[in-house]
């Protein structure tokens, strides 16, 4: 085995050295094959299959029946579906709006060399380690109208039943999402801020630029790529929020927080309408892809290739 590989490698090496300078044994595609096949089977095939399933009618038992576009026409006449799309977008936009400034601020701060920074960032990171389930159960207990934190601070929370109104429940979902994911985005910005060449700040200092101007004219522009990466992750994450909604609000009150990912789950796994569920899933992927492409286009960041190579 080894000797065959070596012979092949040497032969290949000779070909290379004839053409260029490279005499090193190169791993062939066989090295990537197990992972590739595995991923094809469990991610790419299902992704293709979801498109097919969106045109069938299937109740979970027996075999799926072809249904044409009926799932889709039903969906676009379904007020709950339209509402859920709108709520998903709202949750995503609010999530980006809350998490981006906070994580830039703290990330840039943490990139400096203050004392205690290590201890602080060790604690910041904890929510990211916890499952969305644990976090949702925890916050549901903390926000309980009878014995939770709001009941202790009625001057701030009014009736104390935050999850009882649409605004309150959406606010809680945005907050809990930020609580969980801000550490991650902070980390992205911290890494990017560390990579900013210090000479830029030295030059600005010589020019007499203050801290605010340095932040606006050096730090922010230099963080652009990190911002795009982070925002795309926030968009995909926001559109696919699921565990939090299932545990914290069950889509309620009424259908007031029934976002699309949760509506898909309800349609498919509680209503046994897997065709319509698949259509919603596909719609979510399409919307997430479009938004990501728009973010990339607007920001003028079409260097995805160079990012891929630089990783």
């Amino acid at each position: 085995m080894t000797s065959i590989a070596r012979t092949v490698a040497i032969r290949r090496g000779r070909q290379r050295s004839a053409a260029g300078t490279d005499r090193v044994a190169r791993p062939g595609f066989a090295w990537a094959l197990p992972a590739t096949v595995f991923f094809l089977l469990f991610a790419i095939v299902p992704l293709v299959l979801v498109a097919v399933l969106s045109f069938v009618s299937w109740g979970g038992l027996g075999s799926p029946q072809w249904a044409g576009v009926s799932n889709w026409t039903k969906l676009f006449h379904d007020p709950v579906m339209l509402q859920s799309l709108w709520l998903s977008l709202l949750l995503t936009v609010l999530g980006v709006a809350v998490q981006t400034p906070v994580s830039i601020f703290i990330g840039v701060w943490a990139a400096g060399y203050q004392r205690n920074r290590a201890v602080l960032s060790a604690i910041y990171f904890v929510p990211l380690l916890l499952s969305a389930t644990a976090i949702s159960v925890l916050w549901r207990a903390l926000l309980d109208p009878n014995f939770g934190i709001p009941s202790q601070a009625r001057w701030l929370f009014g009736s104390g039943n935050l999850l009882g109104s649409q605004a309150g429940a959406m606010g809680v979902l945005v907050f809990v999402g930020a609580w969980q994911y801000t550490p991650f985005h902070t980390l992205i910005y911290q890494g990017a801020a560390r990579a900013i060449p210090r000479v830029l700040y030295q030059a600005a200092e010589i020019d007499g630029a203050g801290r605010v101007r340095q932040f606006l004219h050096i730090t922010l522009p230099q963080l652009r790529n990190a911002m795009i990466t982070s925002m795309i992750l926030m968009v995909v994450g926001g559109l696919t929020t699921f565990d939090t909604v299932l545990i914290l609000t069950q889509g309620g009150p009424g259908t007031d927080t029934t976002i699309s990912a949760y509506y898909m789950y309800r349609k498919a796994f509680q209503g046994f309408d897997f065709g319509t569920g698949s259509a919603i899933a596909l719609l979510l992927v399409v919307v997430a892809t479009i938004i990501s492409l728009v973010v990339v286009r607007i920001s003028g960041y079409d260097k995805m290739r160079s990012m891929a190579e630089g990783v």
Binding site: P27, F38, V108, W109, S131, T133, A134, Q152, Y265, S278
Partner: protein, 272 residues
Amino acid sequence: MRRRPNYLAGLASIVWLVLVGLPLYVMVSASVQDTSGFSASGPLGLPHHVTFSNFVSDFSGGFGRYYLNTVIVTVSVVAVVLLVVPPLAYAIVRGRGFLTRGAFRMFLLGLAIPAQAVIIPMFYLISKAGLYDNLIGVILPTAAFALPVCALVLSGVMRDISPELYEAMAIDGASSWRVFFRLVLPLSKSGVSTIVVFSALQAWNGFLFPLVLTQSNSTRVITLGLYDFQTEFGVNVPAMLAAVVLSMVPVLLVYLFARRALVQGLMGVGGK
């Protein structure tokens, strides 16, 4: 060069620290009280009578079984990742073929595929394969969805190995196998530990795949146990929060020892 501390950002980070720390404090303090003690002292108060009965009753309520299942899933997912990702990353970094580059593109694309998007076809495929309500049916998709990030992190680390070292091995006439085991693996230990921690974390915290692909008590994992607990006994807050504490103890222990590996790996994902 930047000497003056940034008070404003420092203040903001302390506010955020309170937002993170306070809920964690309430959770731990509630978990060591009984219901009457908890309602007497309030969520923010200090526990007066510390008791561990909540943890005991959680375990008698089946949490031991859930723990075991979660450990099985986590260990298996890490094993699969360790088996397929290092060779993949090596091929991505050192391979020259058209297929390898195509595979790398696929994994980059895979970063953006959410589990929700494929959960219905996954349910279909796993049922057809006869793996429904079987831990193997949870392990396989969970491992698959850990691959893209792991491949990215590990290939990032492998890229830092200097070309001279490969040249030196080439002069010795080393094969790909030898280069992989003698040079690439030893020099990317940090990356390997990152992907171990990362995939273990994903498996330990996984919720959607177990929720949809298992059913019976004997295949229930911790996260599902928490979910059931919340719907069934939502009133007994201390016992519920004790279960949450139990679910995160191993994670926090690992974090204590592998913080650097995890943080730097994640920083690499966004930072580069």
